[in-house]
């Protein structure tokens, strides 16, 4: 679906992202909080898109990376390591762990890969729970982070918004670069036909592992920032399975395989989520479920589908996407 690179939308996306940096000069704390979460969600969605959209592997490991990053960075921050160093370490640890895991898990396909990636978060959660001296176990981990600057609420809100925003910018630039690179081309080959890709000389195992690691590294960094931002993390919070599912929903909302779609999907998803939280707190997870069902049944190509339906002109890319979905399903059935 992303076989040809679309330059205009990418440029528009970058302009919009850069403009977003002005938010601290206009918004109050609540807006900044939403903005920070929006950037975090966008990082999760864009990252997932590398393994899920570009390589076509249904990964549920986002929660594992987020928790790993939150705890690696959180433990370091709690010991007084500077924020930038903590983020870098979390990214490096997650990259290494993902390369290692990827080498093993990415031999699986379809359901088996999905479950194995889901299980990683469960194992990490239990390990975090039982390593009480290091992580505080089920009691959670307090992260007292001194930022300086008078430590006012407004300053802190702006600081973490800008930090998360900068991370999103780096993440989007990195993924855009990957999409245009040899790696991105190789991943598209793998998505379409892995055996054929292997045969024409794409080092599938290495490429897939790299994609998996890329889908983890920025998520882990976002996890560290999140830990520093909320000052307190606990295993059920940062290894939440919803953290693995929400990015998928965001990407599907924006259209599978497109970076700009992932960012827009994340923002729209947050908008819906916030609206539901405000109005129907008791049933927010049910409404989220309903949204997922409607999305998957009636909008298979994300929000673009709505426009297509209204115009009633089946365009060529849509047909290509449908064929892609079918091809994937045949492959999934063969190995699942």
């Amino acid at each position: 679906m992303t076989g040809h690179v679309k330059r205009a939308p990418s440029a528009a996306l970058l302009v919009a992202l850069v403009a977003l940096a002005a938010l601290p000069w206009f918004g109050e704390s609540y807006t900044l909080r939403l903005g920070t979460i929006a950037c975090m969600y966008a990082i999760l969605a864009v990252s997932w898109n590398v393994i899920g959209g570009m390589a076509g592997y249904p990964s549920f490991a986002t929660a594992a990376f987020f928790g790993l990053g939150a705890y690696t960075g959180g433990v370091l921050l709690a010991r007084g390591v500077p924020l930038v160093l903590a983020i870098a370490t979390a990214g490096a640890v997650s990259f290494a762990a993902a390369m290692l895991l990827g080498w093993v898990l990415l031999r699986l396909r379809g359901h088996y890969f999905a479950i194995a990636s889901l299980a990683v978060a469960e194992v990490l959660r239990e390990l975090t729970n039982s390593a009480t001296e290091l992580t505080g176990g089920g009691m959670g981990l307090n992260i007292p982070l001194e930022l300086g600057g008078g430590a006012s609420v407004a300053y802190e809100a702006s600081f973490f918004f800008l930090a998360m925003w900068a991370l999103l910018l780096v993440c989007v630039l990195a993924v855009l670069a990957v999409e245009r690179s040899r790696l991105g081309f190789g991943l598209a080959c793998i998505r379409q036909n892995e055996s054929a890709a292997d045969m024409i000389g794409v080092h599938a195992t290495l490429y897939k592992s790299l994609a998996f690691a890329l889908s983890g590294v920025f998520v882990a960094m976002a996890g560290t920032l999140y830990a520093g931002w909320v000052h307190y993390i606990e295993p059920p919070d940062v290894y939440d399975i919803l953290l693995a599912v929400k990015p998928i929903v965001m990407v599907l909302l924006g259209g599978l395989g497109s970076i700009i779609g992932a960012v827009i999907g994340a923002f729209v998803f947050l908008g819906i989520e916030e609206f539901v939280w405000r109005n129907w707190l008791q049933v927010h997870s049910g409404v989220l479920g309903f949204l997922i069902v409607v999305l998957l049944l009636f909008m298979p190509h994300g929000m673009v589908s709505v426009g297509k339906r209204l115009r009633r002109t089946p365009s060529v890319p849509a047909a290509g996407a449908a064929a892609q979905l079918r091809a994937d399903s045949v492959r999934g059935a063969g190995h699942g």
Partner: protein, 287 residues
């Protein structure tokens, strides 16, 4: 002590087999991982709890009510929703059943609150002892029922017309269609059977474990592990996988402490996925 742990493991294993048999059937035949399975089980537990405490219906009778009720529910869910995405990739079906599970689980929290409830038989059934081995009678009865139910599923698949159609679709969907098997109906029947097994397992588990909407994820996790251990889509595989998991958990809990039981079972899961993804009894066929 060894004997006691062995018995505990076997009791647990039979219950796990019953939890996983329906899940395995749906996964094997429809190629869909039904993430609602855990919530179906909890719903079955609530049915048993409600029937016993508000109407005085014994759980043994509730099983007979739960089976057709859950079958119907599963049949309708498959025909109404899942059937629309049967040709879609793994990601879509997984996420879809996840979304439906969110709805179902939220509905249960609204209806029953998240408090833990317990079905308490009056009078209690007590315990039996052979030498040093002590087993609560309610567990024993639940285990026997779990085995009977799993056996019934096996017989149903081997002996009935519907069962043979399900197996045929699993082996080769296109050939089955050419032989005149109505594939969508067969899918719905298989999904209905899976739901019925989950509901009945839930009724049995209500006798032993506290009931809460929060239990659905752990039940689902067990079903996953058992399926991967035993091999996908086979009843004997589910029984073997269930027994292995039950024994590993009870011996593992003694050896390295009960707090590591979940880590152990998931480590087992990943190990099997990587080194023997077809499971202990894995074959393409379904017997």
């Amino acid at each position: 002590m060894f004997l006691q742990i062995l018995v505990n493991g076997v009791v647990l294993g039979c219950l796990y087999a019953c939890i996983a048999a329906g899940f395995s059937l749906v996964w094997g035949v429809l190629n869909v991982i039904n993430l609602m399975h855990g919530s179906f089980i909890v719903l079955g537990s609530y049915l048993a709890w409600g029937a016993y405490h508000s109407m005085g219906v014994s759980p043994w009778v509730t099983i007979a009510i739960a089976a057709p009720l859950f079958y119907l529910m599963g049949y309708l869910v498959q025909r109404g929703v899942l059937n629309r995405v049967m040709a879609a990739p793994v990601l879509v079906t997984l996420t879809l059943t996840f979304g439906m599970d969110l709805i179902l689980n939220n509905a249960m929290i609204l209806a029953f609150k998240a408090d833990y409830r317990k079905l308490i038989l009056d009078p209690p059934l007590g315990t039996v002892a052979w030498g040093s081995v002590v087993v609560p009678v309610d567990r024993l009865v639940a285990t026997v029922f779990a085995l009977v139910l799993t056996g019934a599923l096996y017989v149903l698949l081997r002996r009935t017309r519907m069962g043979r159609a399900i197996i045929a679709v699993r082996l080769d969907r296109d050939a089955a269609r050419l032989m005149g098997v109505d594939v969508p109906v067969t899918y719905a029947a298989a999904f209905g059977l899976g739901a019925a097994m989950a509901g009945c397992a839930g009724v049995l588990l209500a006798l032993i474990f506290p009931i809460s909407p929060l239990s659905s994820i752990p039940y689902l996790g067990k079903a996953f592990v058992v399926c991967v251990l035993g091999g996908l889509g086979s009843v004997p595989g589910a029984v073997l996988g269930g027994l292995v998991l039950g024994l590993v958990e009870s011996f593992g809990a003694m050896a390295i402490g009960p707090e590591h039981a979940v880590t152990l079972s998931f480590a087992l899961l990943i190990g099997f996925l990587v080194f023997r993804p077809q499971g202990l009894l894995g074959k393409r066929g379904f017997e």
